[in-house]
Symmetry: C2
Subunit: 597 residues, 2 copies
């Protein structure tokens, strides 16, 4: 297991990631992915796309990162996407007020749920001091700080805009068009991978809590009355669950079960959420998360957004702490209903009945010649109010008179003038608001988890070796090719040609002829390259006898292979058709130690 | 050729792109890529990466989109990244003042170069009116409007930050670390693909001038004295050039030449820029730009950034207009020098001499026991000033006394006290600031060009057919598979299995069993799918005789193929090993018209 410091140092030195703008003193909460990290991240995104877009039959879109204010009025982010801020009057430093309480008071775990006033009180009661300068914080105001980055679209005062706090909103706002591409048929799923932003009060824990990050989200739109997930595909998948009940229990334990049983036992209440947990479990295993350091934890009621019926996080263990790397929420019709209310468009689908239905519909046909003279300008509104009343309470038209309210005024109308009747109508279907199930993945946190779980050390020839045991699908480079001696032109030619040949076979190759062979192995070990191929004098034969050395990363085992067979063997290993162990059975093992020359 | 309206309508209807947030009235300058467009865009990015990162041996990074203010103080964007703004006092609409002049005054093509005051005058002189409401604009102030989106990082007043106006800055600021990954060796190239932002005053021309867009940039760092591009790789590439001289000539013409000749004839002055034009020419052709509607145009001196020695744009013809789709600039040492001056870090590389050099270095070793009592607190500064003088003007120490200035005061020192001498020193190398050559591609504009150039109409069986003749590498989907009849379970099974088989061969497949076969062909034609495969009763034989219909998009030609050979034939076509024409020679042509049933 890596210390966070060792991993961060390796990440910087080898080009995985590092704090951005360090030449300018750094910018807290922003990281740059170097060449190795960017490749690793792209591989994670490609693997996610392969599973959550292609295999599940969904469609991916790409929406802008800047969105206008009305979107976030509707989504609730403008009002509710806040953290508790306290500023030190002495040094000017900003802090998360709820975190100060949680750090200082033993039995408070979720101070945010207590509200601003209570947190302000608690800071006074416990005489809390500024962690930066030590000044007294009692008496400083605690306020809600909105975490969206604000900007202005267009010149002058412009139009307020925000960097999206989640990629999801770019999907929700385009639902009216996206449903057309799905030909109005539920269920369908839309995915998006891209940047999202959160203007953290005080970013910490390195790359875990950052201000700009990449999300991979799937919004699955379903008819809650009809659509069932294909649960049979994942019912036998084994998972480690940490439900609310166990979190509340004194001796709470993880529940080791299967997706199918968890649904049967009502541990997971939404079959759709259960389905995606099952798919995710397989995906995390595939990309190389250590599944002994992985769990699904159910949100406590205080953590859950008010609209979410059920919510589970995928969590990975990092240096003894559990961090959220994905969330799986049943969001109901909240998002589409809100956008339908706030915008001019319809966020519903038309659900056709199997057979047309005949329904009774109460209706009015007011005599406007009577209403007009009586109510003047309000006559139209009164007519509308009568129609609404007819639909909501037809019995109101039983008497001689009926009273409606509009714009705060009461109007009494003769029932006869209202012209109430009940008509039979044929309906072919109805407009329904789909429900949303959302698996939402943090790409950067997944990358960090993979690095942490892959970080390994062992002893090779009395030297401590560091290597990243990354899954071949995810490793930045598949194979490194070296000429044994750096300044031998014949070796360099053969090795370069071999590198090109492997590239032509679709393998990603790094060619390296600088430094000792031991240094080159160490470099590739530290960036997680699964295989190294070294060309020495025996690689110059130019006939069937020509052989090269193939070294596997985790075992550091070296085999001698005919160069003519190399590309095919490696392709088979990368396609999953063959294991390195099979090669060990068939080829001669080399014990010559070239790792430390 | 597509009318812009027809293409925009198709783009929206088929899910290539559409204006974002239309449910909220739309947000000018922001577009969303729908499923087909996002796939097309990803394919363009992958093809760019394959050429400009992998094949050229460069490394790709991913930096944040939000960057702090000091970066843009250094880069010059804070001061100079402006457009001319005029606001109508009557209706409040904002306009590009320079565009108003260019539209109204026949012989002015680049009003921005005239400056704010002159443009204000011209608006008065020509009595220009607001294009929106017709109100008089004379007398309204013209001002420089900075085009960066501003935001605030962190709580409270925070730290000013900006959405990056180009991905390049994320590479430049990290140069001190990136050079380490390159082991301090020039030349090396760093690429980045990602969002960039430009808060346009009045976005227009649909997806061409937008506020959020994707750039693909390569920053090639070179030693200007040593590094030559591998020009021989592209010297025979034929290009259409439109140099400054021809743009100024009355009957200016394009120059049809090769990259090699253009360098020999000094039409392109930088061999590095010429090299990248040659690489780009091949790439544009590969992804499907119509090279008869493509040119490289040299920047006029007024357009060029002051630091750029030479700059060429790749331009494509869209609806009769030429639009910039990439820029190729020799930026010299401008960027790295500026960041070196504004930051705490070193933006240089150490260039080792072939052999150590012995140089004479003038130095002082002042007698502080004499300087101290004489100058008190200023003694240290006087000593530093003496050293500086020794380096800049050693002859100043020829006399008995020497005078230096520091903090505005003059100090005279005995030459003996200064202890001047000239020493021989051995130097192994020097710190040099690399020059930058930058190919910068607009991904969205490339996508739009590909759609425009691919847009085709023809007559098939007396019906006008619209299809996108996209290159197979770029098309969102490779192959569509249909059962001939939508409700035949046996056909559906065979077709679904065939779709899976093709997917397993690495082909991207769309399966469709909804609507008539003619509708399904039209749908695939309109999203540019190169091949459709239809399974009919002959597909149910289950032996070697089993055949399916393969339809090619552009010719609408249909062939009858044994299903067992289909995957291999298609793979060969997609790998470029075979043409559809070869298949036409070998398989029976079907004339049955199924396109319009």
């Amino acid at each position: 297991m890596a210390s966070q410091q060792a991993l961060t140092e390796l990440a910087k030195r080898r080009g995985f990631f590092f704090g951005a703008n360090e030449a300018y003193g750094g910018t807290a909460g922003f990281y740059t992915f170097g060449p190795e990290g960017a490749a690793l991240k792209r591989n994670v995104e490609a693997a996610w796309r392969e599973q959550f877009t292609l295999r599940l039959g969904n469609e991916e879109i790409e929406a802008p990162t800047v969105m206008p204010e009305p979107v976030f009025e509707a989504s609730g982010h403008l009002d509710g996407f806040d953290d508790m801020l306290i500023e030190c009057a002495e040094c000017g430093e900003s802090h998360r007020a709820d975190h100060l309480i949680e750090d200082a008071v033993a039995d408070i775990e979720d101070a945010e749920a207590l509200g601003v006033d209570r947190v302000e009180e608690l800071i006074r009661e416990h005489d809390l001091a500024c962690p930066t300068c030590g000044a007294d914080l009692a008496g400083e105001p605690v306020e809600d700080f909105n975490l969206m980055f604000e900007t202005s679209i267009g010149p002058g005062s412009g139009q307020p805009g925000y960097l999206r706090p989640e990629t999801a909103q770019g999907i929700f706002v385009e639902f009216p068009r996206l449903k057309e591409y799905a030909r109005g048929q539920l269920p369908f799923g839309i995915t998006q991978i891209g940047p999202a932003y959160r203007n953290e009060i005080s970013p910490r824990r390195g790359i875990i809590r950052v201000r700009e990050f990449t999300q991979a989200e799937l919004e699955q739109f379903i008819d809650p009355e009809e659509d069932e997930p294909p649960l049979e595909a994942v019912e036998d998948v084994e998972v480690t669950l940490y439900p609310v009940s166990e979190q509340h229990a004194d001796d709470g334990e993880y529940i080791e079960t299967t997706i199918g049983e968890a649904v049967d036992d009502a541990i997971i209440t939404s079959p759709w959420v259960a389905y995606f947990l099952g798919v995710a479990q397989g995906w995390y295993e595939r990309v190389g998360v250590d599944m002994d350091r992985f769990r699904f934890r159910q949100h406590l009621s205080g953590e859950r957004a008010h609209y979410a019926a059920d919510c589970w996080d995928a969590e990975s263990e990092i240096g003894g702490n559990w961090i959220e790397i994905a969330g799986f929420a049943y969001r109901g019709d909240y998002d589409l209903t809100k956008h339908g209310e706030h915008s001019e468009d319809r966020f519903t689908v038309f659900k056709r009945y199997d057979e047309p239905k005949t329904v009774e519909r109460a209706t009015v046909d007011p005599d406007m010649a009577a209403l007009g003279p009586e109510f003047g300008g309000a006559a139209g509104d009164v007519a509308d109010a009568l129609q609404e009343l007819a639909e909501s309470d037809p019995d109101a038209f039983d008497g001689d008179e009926v009273t409606v309210e509009t714009d705060g005024e009461s109007y009494t109308v003769d029932t006869e003038v209202a012209n109430f009747s009940v008509e039979e109508q044929t309906e072919n279907g109805e407009h329904i608001t789909p429900h949303v199930v959302e698996p939402s993945f943090g790409v950067g946190r997944t990358v960090y988890t993979l690095l942490e779980h892959a970080y390994s050390e062992d002893e090779v020839d009395d030297e401590t070796r560091t290597y990243l045991s990354l899954a071949p699908e995810i490793a930045p480079t598949d194979v490194a090719v070296f000429p044994l001696i750096s300044n031998d032109d014949a070796l360099i030619d053969v090795a370069s040609d071999l590198a090109d040949e492997l590239r032509a076979a679709g393998i990603s190759v790094s060619y390296d002829d600088s430094g000792s062979i031991g240094r080159r192995y160490r470099r590739q070990d530290e960036v997680g390259t699964p295989f190294c191929v070294t060309v020495d004098q025996d690689g110059l034969e130019g006939d069937d006898e020509t052989t090269v050395t193939l070294r596997e990363r985790d075992s550091a085992a070296q085999l001698r292979l005919p160069v003519a067979e190399l590309a095919a063997e490696l392709e088979a290993v990368f396609d999953g058709d063959r294991e390195f162990a099979d090669l060990q059975d068939r080829y001669e093992r080399v014990d010559t130690d070239v790792t430390t020359d």
